[in-house]
Symmetry: C2
């Protein structure tokens, strides 16, 4: 079994060694740029980890893992156009640095490249890998569409929200693990359990992100908190607050949440006060804990020695206790 | 051997029977809309035709053929955003009817759906089909980028232009045929020749399009001619004219071509006069004839009875002599 750090190093090195210096440069430079910005490489690490966990050969998982990371970065390129996000990982987004057309087309070619890397999986398991990947790619697009819809939908429920983040974020974590398991020739029920483990970790991960956006330590978080509040994003925190708030508090929440005139810091302060009053931090932590413990249950049902589960558990825990 | 009409009917029926009424509707309605607009279904027909030509079972080619048609329509969705094209096949384009974000994301999900249909190819040949499709998808994006670059590039040569249309248009015709050949278990050199046949037909096809845009019969063409002239598109016709024009004629061409102040009909008239003076119609027809005869040579080298080649030849001829 390899440590998290070893696998992270392996995938970072592998991604770095892939060159995208093809022509026309207008198409490929944004790809090199995006991939050089780094990030946690969460998804490809999960692929390698699952492959290792089920006793597969890590080298067979490297290319599909890179494919998954390229796919993830493609979705960021297009999401940033749609969300008009100027900054990502502390740098200008592709659509800002170049323009929308470049971001659309570079994204498209990244999507094709992702498949090219996925297709390097062993022939015997390629149809199964491809089927998981196709399904996931479609779901991620559906998640992004729901996310955009929510901006103008009035009655978004917590259930709607959980469905959206499941599609937009969690399924790709599940698929990353499952593809690693397929490459390692795991049994069918093991593939399903590791997928569900990823799904639950993914849900907890996104809720943790929502929480950090409001209550994170700015120094450690590396960016200003309160962005979701400023942009009126209907996160779990807001939806829970709206569910729990009564009478005047609910009116106040409604009034201030959609208020585009209110000065940003004032708005963050008011909304945060309501959240504190309603113990939203604790409610969110409870929800995170719920999905986290569901994930651990998924892991328990897999009939593999406990000591082999340490790396996966440690990784999941690392994602949960982070304050960045 | 099936007739062109039979194959066209088969694919039209098959596409029509695929429903995309999933949720969220914002994502899937533009897909149903786009696919319902029809079009010649050129590419999937080529896949079926090649499969039939090499004595394969057409039913094995139907889903991959649909995948190719979905891919082609995905590129149109994104191209129309980049080119700011309001009308396609006589109807509003997706980005106009909905908005750019919808067109980006519906396009993305179409791309994933294209792979889902491609992946229905028989397991034994899937890696080969996928490899051709991946390579082609990447090249089509490269072609579109070159096309956009040419808008601001000063010294585009005829060679540059031919390279661009090879990538943007011709490789997909080649790949459509080759995928049909792979499904039919054709020999390796046969797959290459049918690919090259498609490539040459594709080049001739695009040059014919360029020609019709200037000299087409408006009634039969179904749209106004001269659009490429109005939008200063550096087509084969313009580049050939620029190559042949001397002194004052070249100055005149240069001056009027980039002139955004000149009234549209006046501009078309002036440029068309220069084209006529330089016999650009005849030069373009000669170039089309060249690629068309190269295509027929590709077909000749395939060791299959001449009578089986009739359908492919007839289809190619139909594309060449069309005045729409």
């Amino acid at each position: 079994m390899h440590s998290i750090e070893t696998l992270q190093e392996k995938i970072k090195k592998a991604i770095k060694s892939e060159k995208f210096d093809f022509k026309p440069s207008e198409l490929y430079e944004p790809i090199s740029y995006t991939l050089s910005l780094g990030g946690k490489r969460l998804r490809p690490v999960l692929t390698l980890m699952a492959c290792d966990f089920f006793d597969g050969k890590i080298k067979n998982a490297i290319y599909p893992a890179i494919g998954i990371e390229i796919f993830h970065n493609f979705t960021l390129l297009h999401d940033d156009i749609m969300d008009e996000a100027p900054i990502r990982r502390g740098k200008e987004t592709v659509y800002k640095k170049w323009d929308s057309n470049i971001a659309i087309l570079s994204g498209d070619v990244m999507f094709a490249l992702a498949y090219k890397y996925i297709a390097k999986a062993d022939k015997k398991i390629l149809p199964e890998v491809l089927s998981v990947f196709n399904q996931t790619a479609i779901q991620v697009c559906e998640g992004q569409q729901y996310d955009m819809n929510f901006e103008t939908t009035k009655n978004v429920t917590i259930q709607d929200y959980l469905k959206m983040i499941r599609l937009k974020t969690a399924v790709l974590l599940g698929a990353s693990l499952k593809i690693g398991a397929i490459i390692a020739n795991a049994r069918n029920h093991e593939k399903e359990e590791i997928y569900n483990f990823g799904l639950n970790i993914g849900l907890a991960f996104q809720l943790k992100d929502d929480l950090l956006d409001v209550f994170g330590n700015e120094q450690k978080f590396g960016k200003k908190t309160g962005n979701d509040i400023i942009t009126n994003k209907k996160t779990f925190l807001y939806l829970k607050a709206f569910e729990l708030a009564k009478n005047e508090t609910q009116q106040l929440l409604k009034k201030h949440f959609g208020d585009t005139q209110l000065e940003n810091n004032k708005k963050i302060k008011v909304i945060k006060e309501i959240y504190e009053q309603l113990k939203i931090k604790e409610h969110t932590e409870k929800e995170i804990e719920h999905f986290y413990s569901e994930a651990l249950k998924n892991l328990e049902t897999i009939n593999i020695k406990d000591e082999r589960k340490t790396v996966l558990k440690a990784f999941a825990e690392k994602l949960m206790v982070r304050d960045y």
